[in-house]
Amino acid sequence: MSQIIIYTIITLVAIGAAAAIILYFVAQKFKVYEDPRIDEVEEALPAANCGGCGFPGCHNFAETLVKTESWDDLFCPVGGNDTMSKVAGILGREAIEQAPKVAVVRCNGTPEFRPRVTTYDGAPTCAIAHSLYAGEGICPHGCLGLGDCVVVCNFDAIHMDPDTDLPVVIDDKCTACGACVEACPRDIIELRKKNKKDRKIFVSCINEEKGAVAKKNCSVACIGCAKCFKVCKYDAITMENNKAFIDSEKCVLCRKCVLECPTSAILELNFPPPRKKEPVVEASETEIK
C-alpha cells in the first residue's frame, strides 16, 4: 500500500518538475519585452477603454504615450489635465494642458418647433433612418431622435428627453470622449470648450437649407441671416452654407448674438435669468403658440 503511495508521489513530482522546466524554457524563448512604464501609465489612465483618445483602448494609448516624442495630438479626454499631468509625472515629461470640453447637441427641433410629418417604422437606429430618408420631421439635417448617441455613451452622460425627442447631455458626467459625435449620422453633436458654471452659447442648428426653406421646416432653424455675425465683436461667429457657427474658443459669452437671433436658434444655457428682458427661449415659444 505505502509503496503505491510512494510511487504515485514520485511520478507526480517527476511530471511536475519536467513540466516546470519545459515551461521555463518556453517562457524564456517567447518572452516579449515590454517597457514597465507602459503598465504604470496604464494604471494612471481611467481604464474606461472608451476610445476617446483615438486609440482602441487604454493600453494602446499608454504604449503610444511612452514611445512617442511629441504629445501634441495625445490627450485623454476622460481623465483630463489631472490624468495627463500624472502620466507626465511618471514619465518625467511636461504635460500639454487642454481646455476641458463637453458635448453639445446642436438641434432644437422639438415636435413643437419642427412638426413630425411621417412616422418612422423601421429598425430603431439613427444610422438606418438617416440612410432611408429625411426623418419624421421634414428637416434633413435635424436630430432623428432614435438615440444612437445614447447607445454608444459609456458614461451614462446622454439620454433622450421624451418631451422634446432630443438627446440631453449631462455636463457633469460627459467626458468629451467623442463617441456620440462619431455615432451621430447627421453630425449634430459637437465637442465645445467647457466654460465656467457650464455656461454655453451656441447655434443650436446645423441645417444648410436656404433661409425660407429652413424656417418652413423648423421654426427655430438658423436661417443664415448673419445678424449674429454682424453683432459679434470677437470674430467668434462664422457664416458658411447658410448657417452661423460660434467658435467656442473665441466666444466670450457676452450674449449679444442671442438677443439678435430672429429665430431663437442661438441658445444660452446655465446663465442667470436676465433682469430686464424675458428669457429668449421662452419668448420664442410663446411666439409659436
Partner: protein, 444 residues
C-alpha cells in the same frame, strides 16, 4: 406548366395583382411637371435649360455627366419655372427642373404615330447610340443606364439576351399590361437589343401567374429566334442573377455581372422603351405605372409622363383613401416608402402602392429563435440572422467574409421572419459600412 425557377431560397408572398387585366390608360400631361436630374444610378445629369426657357416634349433638358449617367428629356411642353432643389421621395432635396405645361408640342423628330415599324436595318453602332441619346435606364426599378449594358467589356461575349417579364413583385402589373398590349413593339425592341449586342438568342421569362401573357408572347414570337419560358411563381425571380440561373442554369459569380456568364438582362419595359427610341425617335419621357392598393377604388395601369406628381395619379385611380397609412413607390418587397405624395413619377417608378395601417405596420420585434427560415429563403445563400447580429453590434469587418456584399436586398429574410426582425434594415446598413471599408482599402 413549367416548373423552371431558381434553385436556392425564395418566398411566395400573396400575389395581390389587383390591377391585372386592366387596360393601359394614357394620362394627359400634368399641369406642372417636376423632372429630377438624377433618375438613374450614377451621377446626376447636367442641366441645359434656364428659368423662363420654352421647351418641347422630347427636348433634351439635361445631359449625361460621366460614364454612369443618362440624358434627361422634357416630358411636357411649356415654360421652365424653376431649376432648383425639390424634395425627392426620401425627403432629401435634389436638383430638378420644374415646367409649367402649355399645350402638348412635341419635337418634330419624334414619330408619334402608332404604326408598327419592324425589321430594323440600322447597324448595331447606331442602335447603341440612339439608346444612349434617348436616356434609357432599366425600367424594372434599379434604373441602371441601359447603354452601358450594351457595351460588352473586352474579353467577354454575350450569348443570350434575357428579357425579364417575371414581375415577381406582388401587386405590380405594369409589365404584364405591357406584354399584353404592346407585344409587337416589345418583340421589335428585343430584336433591336439582340442586334445591338450581336447575339442570336433571346429568352423572355414570364411567371406562370400570367398565362395570358405567356400565350400572347409565344404566339408573337413564333418563328423568331426569341423564345418564351413560363416559370414557377417565386420571389425574387426577377433578380438578374436568379433569372439567369433559373433559365440557363448559369450562376453569375459573386461580385460579377450576368455578362460574366454571357448574358445581358433587360426588363420588358426597357425593351419597349428601346423600340420607341430607335424606331420612333422618342426618348424616355413616359412609362407605365401601376397604381394599386386594397383600399383604392380603381387600381389601374397608367401610361404617365415622367414628372407627373404621384398625387395626381392617385387622384385618377379614385383618390387617396382615408385610411392610407403608407405609400410605396414600387412593389411591396423592394419599393420605397414615400414621406409625401407630392413627388414626381420618375423613370424608376414601376408602381404606386397604397396600404392601410394594418397592412403597413410592422409587428413587434421579438428575439431570434434561430428557426433557420431566413437562411433557407435567402436566394444568395447568405445567413441573414448572422449578418443582422454583426451589423447590430458594429462588427462590420466580419461581415465582408460572410459575403454581405452579395445581398441583393430582396427582403425575403425580413418577409419570412416569424419574430418580425428587421433583418434587411441592418444588412443594408452593414453593406453601406462594408462598402466604405472596401473603398478605403482601395484608396490606400
Amino acid at each position: 406548366m413549367s416548373i423552371k425557377t431558381f434553385s436556392r431560397g425564395g418566398v411566395h408572398p400573396p400575389d395581390n395583382k389587383l390591377s391585372a387585366g386592366n387596360k393601359i390608360v394614357e394620362l394627359p400631361p400634368p399641369e406642372l411637371a417636376t423632372i429630377p436630374l438624377s433618375q438613374h444610378l450614377g451621377a446626376p445629369a447636367k442641366v441645359l435649360v434656364n428659368r423662363g426657357d420654352q421647351v418641347k416634349v422630347g427636348q433634351l433638358i439635361a445631359q449625361s455627366e460621366g460614364f454612369v449617367s443618362t440624358n434627361i428629356h422634357s416630358s411636357v411642353s411649356g415654360k421652365v419655372l424653376k431649376v432648383d432643389q425639390f424634395m425627392d421621395s426620401s425627403g432629401y432635396r435634389r436638383m430638378a427642373v420644374q415646367i409649367q405645361v402649355e399645350g402638348d408640342q412635341w419635337m418634330e423628330t419624334i414619330d408619334r404615330s402608332d404604326d408598327l415599324v419592324r425589321n430594323s436595318v440600322l447597324p448595331a453602332e447606331d442602335i447603341r447610340k440612339k439608346i444612349l441619346e434617348a436616356g434609357i435606364v432599366g425600367l424594372g426599378g434599379a434604373t441602371f443606364p441601359s447603354h452601358i449594358k450594351l457595351m460588352v467589356p473586352q474579353g467577354k461575349t454575350a450569348e443570350y439576351v434575357i428579357i425579364n417579364g417575371v414581375e415577381c413583385e406582388p401587386y405590380l402589373t405594369a409589365d404584364h399590361a405591357l406584354m399584353m398590349e404592346r407585344s409587337e413593339e416589345l418583340l421589335s425592341g428585343i430584336q433591336l437589343l439582340m442586334i445591338g449586342l450581336g447575339v442570336e438568342k433571346a429568352i423572355i421569362g414570364i411567371e406562370n401567374n400570367k398565362p395570358d401573357a405567356i400565350e400572347k408572347m409565344k404566339e408573337i414570337t413564333r418563328g423568331s429566334s426569341v423564345s418564351v419560358q413560363g416559370m414557377k411563381v417565386m420571389y425574387p425571380q426577377g433578380g438578374e442573377k436568379q433569372l439567369v440561373q433559373a433559365l440557363l442554369k448559369r450562376e453569375v459569380p459573386s461580385g460579377g455581372l450576368p455578362i460574366d456568364v454571357g448574358v445581358v438582362v433587360f426588363n420588358v419595359g426597357t425593351a419597349h422603351a428601346v423600340y420607341e427610341a430607335v424606331m420612333k425617335n422618342r426618348p424616355l419621357i413616359n412609362r407605365i405605372v401601376t397604381v394599386t392598393g386594397k383600399g383604392l377604388d380603381k387600381p389601374s395601369n397608367f401610361m404617365v409622363r415622367i414628372g407627373t406628381p404621384v398625387s395626381s395619379l392617385i387622384e385618377k385611380a379614385g383618390g387617396l383613401p382615408e385610411a392610407t397609412a403608407k405609400v410605396i413607390n414600387g412593389g411591396p418587397m423592394m419599393g420605397k416608402a414615400l414621406s409625401t405624395i407630392d413627388v414626381p413619377v420618375v423613370k424608376g417608378s414601376s408602381g404606386i402602392l397604397l396600404m392601410d395601417e394594418s397592412e403597413a405596420r410592422r409587428k413587434d420585434v421579438k428575439p431570434c429563435i434561430r428557426c433557420t427560415k431566413c437562411v433557407s429563403v435567402c436566394p444568395m445563400g447568405l445567413e441573414p440572422y448572422l449578418l443582422m447580429t454583426l451589423s447590430e453590434k458594429s462588427f462590420f469587418e466580419r461581415m465582408e467574409p460572410e459575403k454581405v456584399m452579395d445581398c441583393i436586398e430582396c427582403g425575403s429574410c425580413s418577409y419570412t421572419c416569424p419574430s418580425s426582425r428587421p433583418l434587411l434594415d441592418y444588412i443594408r446598413l452593414g453593406k453601406a459600412e462594408v462598402g466604405k471599408i472596401m473603398r478605403a482599402r482601395k484608396a490606400v
